[in-house]
């Protein structure tokens, strides 16, 4: 899976979790997205795991600070 495919699917995940289109850039953080609080972060992690068939280590799930890191980790785990 290449980066563009991951980003496209991730955008759909964000749309599902936040009920709207969310502009995603590598530097996007929770602070940039209205409603991206701690509970929605957990829901996001679970939805991404389901969508991509992967499982994050919990320390990674907490540590990822922006969308770019999230995409990198998805690519790594989906290999």
């Amino acid at each position: 899976m290449n980066r563009d495919e991951v980003c496209a699917r991730l955008k759909e995940v964000f749309r599902d979790v936040f009920d709207r289109d969310v502009e995603l850039r590598d530097a996007t953080t929770a602070a940039d997205v209205s409603g991206w609080d701690s509970l929605n972060h957990i829901i996001l992690i679970g939805t991404i795991e389901d969508e991509f068939g992967i499982k994050f280590a919990m320390k990674d799930a907490v540590r990822m600070t922006n969308v770019g890191e999230l995409v990198d980790k998805i690519i790594e785990l989906a290999r």
Binding site: D37, S38, L39, L44, I45, G46, D50, K55, M58
Partner: protein, 130 residues
């Protein structure tokens, strides 16, 4: 896996207790402070159904943000399990995400609990059997 209680998140334990008493519930465990999670917890029962009232006692409590977000509301069902470690691992493999890891719950006699969230269902609590 057996349902142990339904957790309600409330702003005021005493006032919520009075509301439940109008429905026939009785207190089975008076309010206990969980200093680690910065919450007050009380249990009431009716006809074999148990309700846990949870209220943040500090602004940085583990449930402060959630209480502000959902108001006074039921927010989890607690399941009592034989082996909490293996249940957490089993559910972790089925899209359940740990929101608050294994820790002792003072209001439940120090038994360990773990909170998990499923993206398509919401929050549950696991409680290890006595």
């Amino acid at each position: 896996m057996k349902i142990h209680h339904i957790g309600y998140l409330v702003k005021h334990v005493e006032r919520a207790q009075r509301a439940l008493e109008t429905l026939g519930f009785s207190v089975v465990q008076q309010k206990v402070r969980d200093e680690l999670r910065k919450i007050d917890v009380e249990f009431l029962e009716k006809d074999g159904y148990c309700i846990e009232l949870v209220s943040p006692c500090e602004t940085d409590s583990v449930v402060s943000e959630l209480r502000t977000r959902i108001g006074n509301s039921p927010y989890h069902i607690c399941y009592e399990v034989e082996d909490i470690d293996s249940e957490v691992m089993r559910l972790r493999n089925s899209c359940w995400v740990v929101s608050s890891g294994l820790m002792a719950a003072p209001a439940l006699g120090g038994r360990r609990v773990c909170f998990l969230v499923h993206p398509y269902l919401g929050m549950i609590e696991l409680l290890e059997k006595e």
